[in-house]
Subunit: 677 residues, 2 copies
């Protein structure tokens, strides 16, 4: 969006005028008297709500036009969760020839909102346009004045303040055809007259569209800094005398939580904390022959100690989990749990509810496979045999963990489960537990990822780890900020236990810094899997995007205070994010041209807050070039000089439209706060 529009939105347009609540007017299908089409945000024809968080500035857009020459106008009618209507004026934007209109609005309450758009005929704007044209030509003075007075007459009953009525009456008297053209034009163009008539003037042929839903959620659904770690690794130690490992525990993680909080994270995400299956347990590096010392993959859920509703005794019990959650909370952090809807063959459900799995024609329960690959340690759930039963159990489990303070679930591989199941679950939770955030771990094709987001997942993993160049980051961010922004909220993880990005395999510390800076400033939500700050990078093989000695299959105690360490930079990034609303949102984003394709420049704006990031994409060498800032898009003129303060270093510069930068592996980026003069 342009800064011009943003100003409008944060000015009069975004301060909605209220009118008394009333039921949405009836309409027949098809175009209304004043047509409004191409409405957004609309998800799947309105079957699912579009997304916003509380007070997020979001665009409502439509194509608005009408027959003939008379003036058209449009209003967004927002209906808040309590049914109260709030009206916000729309305005025409470029490119005019395509008739796009928009309004930027902030919805100030959580819950299910609705909006419709009213197209209407604007007789005052029509009259004003015609009056000026006719006065310029010396035409029809008598009629022009008469018509203006008539419109003022129609407006008087709408006024709320005596002063406005008095002013209008005096304007009406001034529309006297005996006066000369200059005097009349002065009256017609009086800003006070424009203001009163713009607010209270007649609206003819008001034509409402259908009504479409917007779900307004808590801010954490959009803006979050995630840290992922395996509690079992924290303080784990190998007893050489017994040849066995001693697992880390929840209670042993409190110090670690403090360190994570110091880095500024607000969500701590734990891989599954449930009992781990024994059958076909995976050994180190995903091997098939686990030894007695191998703890197994936490995603092989369930054994004789319980399933999704149990705590792995190695980690502690519900009490120690509660203490862990409480400790995180005291540090300003929420705990997110992994929700992996699959079972080990030892899961209690296998005996209690064999109907929740697939029984093959030979009577055996089907393990996961992608022939010829077999995953015999995992039984996938079958959602079609007893959909109500499995649904009820899933709700029970989620509510169990909610009772222990968990309001965020990172859902493992949602794309391998039925979408209709998720749709039902999200619909229930939007109503019953709207505070819960589900984060979709779907690394798959766009249709599936988008559909999971549309049906309600509040946050989604993305392709960010595979976007390394100026062109592909620009392409992907353009999609995320302008095409899918009404339903898909990205969380840019820089690494995960499953993804050791090729970009980091060199171990080059600047590469880690660049990825952290990009993730933390491009996306309102970003995430780090522990070890990243220690520059862990050894891959399973040169062409493998997985970690060697992956923590998924073994204990990995770490010295988190080791040097070198990225924890200071990460802490700075999260602090900058906390301080700058511009970085906490996705929609007011744009790239700026650079003369060097290995330098990326982009700005984010929210209200008066404006951040300009200039980041090298080359961790190996120094990059120089010019950054050509599109100043009008930031509400400045091409010749303006303005102050930028690098929030990473505190350095101040004066910038203009074209600016030289030199970025080194040591200091690969500027994160500028832009201060307009």
């Amino acid at each position: 969006m342009s800064a011009k529009t943003a100003q409008k939105a944060s000015g009069k347009q975004a301060q909605p005028r209220s009118r008394a609540a009333k039921p949405a007017p009836a309409r027949t299908p098809g175009f209304g008297r004043i047509p409004v089409t191409g409405i957004s945000p609309v998800v799947e024809e309105g079957d699912y709500p579009a997304k916003a968080v509380v007070d997020e500035l979001i665009p409502i857009r439509a194509t608005v036009f009408r027959e003939g020459h008379d003036a058209v106008n449009a209003t967004v009618v927002l209906v808040n969760p309590r049914g109260r209507e709030i009206r916000v004026g729309m305005h025409a934007v470029e490119p005019w020839g395509l008739d796009p209109w928009e309004a930027w609005v902030r919805l100030d309450k959580e819950g299910l909102w609705h909006f419709r758009i009213e197209g209407w005929s604007d007789p005052w704007a029509t009259w004003h346009h015609n009056a000026i044209a006719k006065l310029d030509a010396g035409q029809d003075l008598q009629l022009v004045c008469l018509e203006g007075q008539h419109l003022i007459e129609r407006t008087l009953p709408n006024l709320k303040r005596q002063a406005d009525a008095k002013a209008l009456k005096s304007f009406s008297a001034a529309l006297d055809p005996a006066k000369n053209v200059e005097e009349l034009e002065k009256t017609i163009n009086d800003p006070r007259l424009a203001s009163i008539m713009g607010q209270f003037g007649p609206r003819d042929l008001v034509s409402p569209t259908k009504s479409y839903p917007i779900q307004v959620e808590r801010k954490r659904a959009l803006y979050a800094s995630w840290y992922e770690f395996f509690p079992r690794s924290v303080g784990a130690w190998f007893d050489e005398s017994t040849g066995r490992w001693h697992s880390g525990t929840f209670d042993g993680c409190h110090q670690r939580l403090e360190e994570i909080a110091q880095m500024g994270f607000d969500v701590v995400y734990l891989p599954p904390i449930h009992p781990i299956g024994h059958s076909f347990r995976k050994g180190k590096n995903n091997t098939l022959n686990a030894g007695p010392a191998d703890p197994g993959s936490p995603w092989a859920i369930g054994n004789e100690d319980g399933g999704h509703d149990a705590v792995n005794p190695d980690l502690g019990d519900f009490d120690s989990f509660d203490r862990f959650v409480e400790k995180a909370k005291s540090l300003g952090m929420e705990v997110a749990l992994d929700f992996a809807l699959q079972c080990s063959p030892d899961h209690p459900w296998v005996k209690e509810h064999p109907e929740w799995f697939t029984t093959r024609v030979d009577g055996t329960i089907a393990y996961a496979e992608n022939p010829p690959k077999k995953y015999q340690d995992i039984y996938p759930i079958n959602f079609d045999n007893d959909p109500d039963g499995i649904f009820k159990e899933v709700v029970r489990i989620l509510e169990l963990w909610m009772a222990h303070g968990v309001k965020i679930f990172r859902v493992d591989n949602p794309h391998t489960k039925a979408l209709s199941f998720w749709s039902r679950l999200m619909t229930l939770f939007r109503k019953k537990h709207p505070e819960v955030i589900f984060f979709a771990e779907a690394f798959t094709r766009p249709a599936m990822m988008h559909s999971l987001a549309k049906l309600g997942f509040q946050q989604s993993y993305t392709y960010f780890v595979w976007r390394e160049h100026q062109w592909d980051i620009q392409q992907y961010m353009t999609e995320l900020t302008t095409q899918t922004d009404s339903f898909f909220r990205p969380n840019f993880f820089v690494n995960t236990p499953d993804i050791n990005p090729f970009y980091l395999h060199s171990g080059n510390q600047a590469a880690f810094a660049i990825r952290a800076i990009l993730a933390a400033t491009l996306s309102p939500a970003w995430g780090v899997y522990s070890g990243f700050e220690l520059f862990e990078h050894e891959p399973l093989g040169p062409d493998r995007e997985e970690y060697l000695n992956s923590e998924k299959y073994e204990y990995r105690p770490r010295d988190y205070n080791a040097q070198p360490n990225l924890n200071v930079l990460i802490g700075k990034l999260n602090a900058i994010r906390k301080h700058h609303p511009a970085l906490q949102q996705l929609r007011q984003f744009r790239f700026h041209n650079t003369t060097n394709e290995r330098i990326l420049a982009y700005s984010k704006v929210d209200g008066d807050d404006c951040i300009l990031v200039v980041c090298s994409l080359n961790p190996e060498y120094t990059e120089e070039g010019q950054v050509n800032v599109d100043l009008p898009s930031l509400g400045m003129g091409w010749d303006d000089v303005y102050q930028v303060e690098d929030r990473l270093t505190g350095n101040l510069f004066h910038w203009g439209a074209n600016n030289f930068v030199r970025l080194t592996p040591d200091k690969p980026a500027h994160i500028f706060r832009v201060t307009k003069n």
Copy 2:
């Protein structure tokens, strides 16, 4: 579309299998068990029907995908106007990563059709994929055979022919784990097995989408060659003794109709034939001071002789109009009337129904104006004072002319009238008079032009006259053939009484030939306003796109047999169009690369009919270059040699992928019939 797809469509896919009619299954909003999204053709969320003509090959498209690894499949369920269901299999197309599926179908009856898409789980395809993978790895032979037999068992009840049942049972027996892998693979891959299972195999988790409408109209709505002329000019003569003109008449036009039919036109379109107003009548070249000899603009409708329901006595009466229509019909042509919903101040409605106009605050009736311009000879209709009254009258008038054999109306300036009015009218006519074709004369911005088409106008004027270059013709045709094809049917007029294109101002005969060739071969509907064939080109001024001495304001008798004359080329073009179904449709169209930006190359395909046009865009000089034909898109290989026959000259050539052409102002184009070897 690719030729590969077209073949599928004209093969098995386009020969729908029928099943017994039943009501569309119930569904809840949102994604079904097997999700299907991004469906087309869908116009305004289904508020308006998409368009097709009888037997036109049209694409049904959607994004189809599912969870996990199992195979997905999809079927279009077409419901014909009588409620009978016809099922057509969809197939995945490129780019695979975005999960697009499609089916090309021909709807064989006029009327309102509906379609939904059923996504479904395909257990046979899943099994087949897994079986091959497992056999290759020597895995699970026993289970693979058992599962295959089970699926065959499930299929047997679906079969209709004994022979199929017998074959399936024998395949089942051959799925014997005791056999070796080669034998088993041969069985699994048997084409007969694939064919029977593909047709009758089990369909699980069948998930229907919403139902969307498609209006199937008569072919003339898509494919038509229009000729426009003013009957009053045909045989008109000036009596020097009286200083008055004698108007041409309907009865005097019969010979002219024969000449028009000889040029191969099938629609004869007449400007308004009603009595013409006297008040503020326009004189020659749109001047304000008409003399007694000036016949006035036919668009200033109505005087003491009547309004829209009357015939201008100068032209004849209803009987002579009927003879005119009958004569046209005997020549294989339809008569299209202008429907201009506006009045002269002398129109009977002005006295009888002042409520159908706008009364200004000074009590006068509003004439048309675009301040400071005034059009005092025209009173626009007001559609808001008495919407039911004006609607009823409009229906009465249209039905009156229908009773006189008119089934096509060219609607003047529909974009200056309320869309809700047109929407209501089109909805009524789709039900009551589905044979009527309305042709929208809206030269305005895209939103309005598209919306008029969406709400039901069967044909639309276009921007063609302003598309003169390779790049802009390519851009516009891509929009028309791939973006708006489900609702917007273009009619490429080469000129109109209002538009004397700059491209023709030189009078260069090659320029006229090029425009005729482009219009007649790019668009299934094209049109010529009389005088074009005689190379009339004198503009009102050098920067004016209007004709000097426009026929709108005066009589213009012509010698239609004068030389030079484009009538022979036009006749050839229309004959080629009649002979080639490829040229009668819009959707199977593509451009081919040329090495010269002043040479345009494109192909059109329908079934086995394939036309390849190569046309110079330079009427002044010879153009040479290479045409690089995308042979795979035409169902050929890159190395294929094929025969092309120039339908303009009869010349035969052998062409390959890359071909040299030399086009001269004398022979500016090839219209090749492509014959594959």
